[in-house]
């Protein structure tokens, strides 16, 4: 996993609440059995005027000029700014893969849906929660194209001359800073898991054994 320490980039302001994971990556792309390549389909229904699927060449599609992602002023944006309850709906991790593949390293919003929030950390994308008023200020700042610096080590966002503090759960911050894989970390506790499992098997044997 890619580590996240300090990141500077253009902010894409997306002035919508309840952006759900169906909107971030529509279901026809969930048919891919791969983990990469979803970037061109991020926000597909809003981003293109015509319908597409995995078989449609992206070059042949008509971009929606009114959608912020297609606005030249935000070209190459790597920080997404949105309204409350971002990432609600389906648990599809493809939503985070699509954002990451599109180049987003950080999403800033007043609140996030749980599963999406979790999935971000597993893919090197940093979700940041800020007060609604601060978000309003950032929208004003980002309008028309602007850069921010997000410093995870200091837990600060640099907006021009200004510093905005944010908080990330310490364990998650550590893992993101180090780019650590969760599975490898858990398997260091293999013996404890085996002990737990052996005791459970003794006490509640009906939870074990396949019958299918």
């Amino acid at each position: 996993m890619q580590a996240f320490r300090v990141h500077s980039g253009v902010v894409l302001p997306m002035d919508r609440a309840n952006v759900d994971t169906d909107a971030i990556i529509p279901k026809q792309y969930l048919k891919s059995v791969r983990r990469t390549g979803f970037g061109p389909y991020a926000f597909d229904d809003w981003r293109y005027l015509d319908a597409g699927d995995l078989d449609t060449p992206v070059d042949s599609r008509r971009p929606n000029p009114d959608f912020e992602l297609n606005d030249a002023r935000y070209a190459g944006a790597s920080i997404l700014l949105a309204r409350r309850n971002f990432g609600c709906g389906s648990s599809r991790e493809h939503a985070v893969w699509a954002l990451a593949d599109q180049g987003f390293r950080c999403v800033i919003a007043p609140s996030f849906a749980d599963i999406f929030f979790n999935n971000c950390f597993k893919n090197g994308v940093l979700p940041i929660v800020l007060e609604e008023e601060t978000i309003d200020e950032l929208f004003a700042f980002a309008a028309g194209g602007a850069e921010l610096t997000v410093d995870l080590e200091q837990q600060q966002i640099h907006v021009g001359e200004r510093q905005i503090d944010f908080r990330v759960d310490p364990a998650r911050r550590e893992r993101l800073l180090a780019g650590l894989d969760d599975i490898g970390q858990t398997l260091q506790l293999r013996a404890q898991i085996q002990d737990f499992e052996a005791r459970r098997r003794r006490e509640k044997p009906w939870l074990f054994g396949a019958r299918a």
């Binding site: 609440a17 059995v33 983990r35 309204r83 309850n85 991790e93 493809h94 849906a113 597993k122 969760d182």
Partner: protein, 470 residues
Amino acid sequence: MARTLYQKIWDDHLVQTLDDGTGLLYIDRHLVHEVTSPQAFEGLRLAGRPVWRADANLAVPDHNVPTTDRAAGIADPISRTQVDTLDRNAREFALPYFPMADQRQGIVHVIGPEQGATLPGMTVVCGDSHTSTHGAFGALAFGIGTSEVEHVLATQCLLQQPAKTMRIWVEGALDAGLTAKDLALAIIGEIGTAGGTGYVIEFAGPAVQALSMEGRMTLCNMTIEAGARAGMVAVDDTTIDYVRGRPFAPTDAHWEAAKAWWRTLHSDEGASFDREVRLDAAQIRPQVTWGTSPEMVAAVDAAVPDPAQAGDPVKAQGMRRALEYMGLAAGQAISDIAVDKVFIGSCTNSRIEDLREAAAVVRGRHVAASVKLAMVVPGSGLVKAQAEAEGLDAIFRAAGFEWREPGCSMCLAMNADRLEPGERCASTSNRNFEGRQGQGGRTHLLSPAMAAAAGITGHLVDFRTLPSVA
């Protein structure tokens, strides 16, 4: 100390608390389907990791399977690849598996309980947000992302932060004919789609206890639409009676031991919750969503609300966007909204009781001429067989409904069943997001009886007001 149901299950599965307070939780049951698992198996292969405990899993294809004749296989090559990939992975890693041709195949959240693979007190996870359904059994059940699917396959554990707890206490009794779906939608209307974020919700009170297991599943299924990761209902006789005799359920001496433990699975007297919400079931009328988020819901006899009255500007903007997408105007009577299609199915409402409720409305009537398609998609092969044994399929067919093979179908339109742009659907599923049932499609969520009535009259209507059939 008095503990909540959530705390009891947490404590029972805690392998270790890490330095930062994260819990390493043991997972009893992992349900697997074709959409969110391929990348996880690929990850195992790349890292050379085995599956920790194959018998803790149950795999089934559901999202991509056709609901029409399956003899010819799956026409869409990409859908077929996903199902074939699951076939291969289940075989290679020796997971218990119900392939498409197995009569026990169905929607993952329908077959888990149906088989007794979901049991009280378990931790149940699946790469699917509606895993919350299984909380109906007094289990801790929640959806996970694909990285976590891989984590569970490799370690039989998950890293979890303790959640806050909320109790939703539902006083009184629902009116006759009203269902868990109306209750679920009313609760979401009350607390909002983000109201449950960060919480595990325990549903309690007389109106919840009065629900059947299937009703409890519908209620817990919709918990995720309130933003909560999991919903739960305490174990009682209804739970135990449902589980008894199911293929994966314990028998004989194990049954008695299991039952003794299950009886302890309720929140203790005096346990404290971070938030308490109270509702009166008697106040609830049949619910229908009018917008593009499940919280955009109203009683069927109400009118489409006016964004100008919303107060909060962010909310008003969301409502305006939703009305535009839905092709509706503020103030319009909900019962004047005409529908093009009707979908009865999904992990929310495709169980036998749902089909019975819908069939009771349909019996002796016919689908309105203006309705292009009305379909019933049972939740599993066994639900389908049961419904056929009861003659429900004949009732639906005689009325002009299509009777299909089990799967997710038009709940998310990954297979061939979908809405065309602008089409309006009365749907018993759980999400009315933009494009959920097909690009440009418009979804109204409601109960099976209400969906059936919409099919018969061609518009949204309180099913209790239909003229009686001779």
